[in-house]
Symmetry: C2
Subunit: 220 residues, 2 copies
């Protein structure tokens, strides 16, 4: 490996998965993995100290998640090249990641070649999206499913968040310093705007759009 190798920081909370990245990427000449992180905070710290050419980052991680880590790193270095590599084959997550500043989004179901190709593309300054996500994005556009984050006002979004966080209407009213009646009205309005008929559908929509991850659901 020459001094001109591109340096990479791997971020994933599963050590065995990092091992897989490393194995795939290091077979590729010109790439060198110089550090690994197991969560968002560590990733941010290592990015600052190691200044890698590229970050390959998972999304679902304990503590601050991948999206937030992307945001922080980009805030620190506007030019940071971050490739999100995740299991979520889901347009919602991809949109969030790209908006947060990621330069690529590849799903873990993709063959190794796709990952390598995406790494090269991002290093070359291009945006890399894996074909399955391209398709998901196209579909979600066609289906015209309203994105909760877009159609909802900040207040509505906040109420939805609390609703999904398993709070009762009264608790939410309390924390927001408004009457329970207002919360109930908002609740109803949210479902209307999102086009869902029940709370169950609401949760599922939130899950689909990546507003809620399975791990948020309180493990024990």
């Amino acid at each position: 490996m020459s001094a001109g190798d591109a340096t990479i920081l791997l971020v994933d909370d599963h050590s065995v998965v990092r091992e897989g990245y490393r194995s795939v990427l290091e077979k590729q000449p010109g790439l060198r993995v110089i550090a690994e992180a197991a969560d968002g905070t560590e990733a941010y710290r290592l990015f600052k100290s190691e200044a890698p050419d590229l970050v390959v980052m998972d999304l679902s991680m304990p503590g601050i998640g991948g999206i937030e880590a992307v945001r922080r790193i980009r805030q620190w270095d506007k030019g940071a090249k971050i490739l999100v590599f995740t299991m979520h084959q889901n347009a919602g997550f991809a949109v969030q990641a790209i908006r947060a500043g990621a330069r690529g989004y590849v799903t873990k179901t993709s063959p190794p070649e796709t990952l390598v190709r995406a790494v090269m593309d991002v290093l070359a300054g291009k945006i890399a999206i894996s074909p399955d996500i391209d398709h998901e994005l196209a579909m979600s556009r066609l289906a015209g499913e309203s994105s909760a984050a877009d159609v909802l006002t900040p207040r509505e979004f906040e109420v939805m968040r609390l609703l999904l966080a398993e709070r009762t209407t009264d608790e939410i009213a309390e924390t927001l310093h408004v009457s329970p009646k207002t919360v109930a009205n908002l609740h109803s309005l949210i479902k209307d705007k999102l086009g869902v008929g029940s709370d169950i559908e609401l949760v599922r929509l939130a899950l689909r759009q990546g507003l809620l991850t399975q791990v948020d659901l309180g493990e024990a």
Copy 2:
């Protein structure tokens, strides 16, 4: 590698992850990965043709999931040794996996040594549960959280399934050939038995207990 090596079948829908397994396991003398599968169906087929000493299996996969794959393999070979290796740090999944016939349950957050250790233990005929899951199981016992599958009658469970499947009360009444009123009653009774106050909590409980996986929630 001698002819006496233990043979292993890897099952995971993420190729990069399989690469990681392989890298970790093959560093260990006495182990040999002889096949890989990307979904449950393929796993079953390869188990029959390759007859590996051990299967290392992920749970969340397209098509028939890991739990069902475990069940089928064990049905075909009562002595099959299957180690579940998954991201779900969740007592509910572990209980399901073990009941389906898995001989071990290790989370992907575990360090590589834990995986290797578990592989050895299962090969030696022991049951291997990673420490974090041990703890989860203990906690869920202590919390006395009612397991939906246990406290609900078959009928109630069925209604819950349909409820979570995004069906309206009326649709469910239709498919079950009972009055909508009965479904509403059951719905109420289910929430009562499970000790949840809202549908949102119900969905979250189901998610926690692995009755519903994120992928069930309809990607796009």
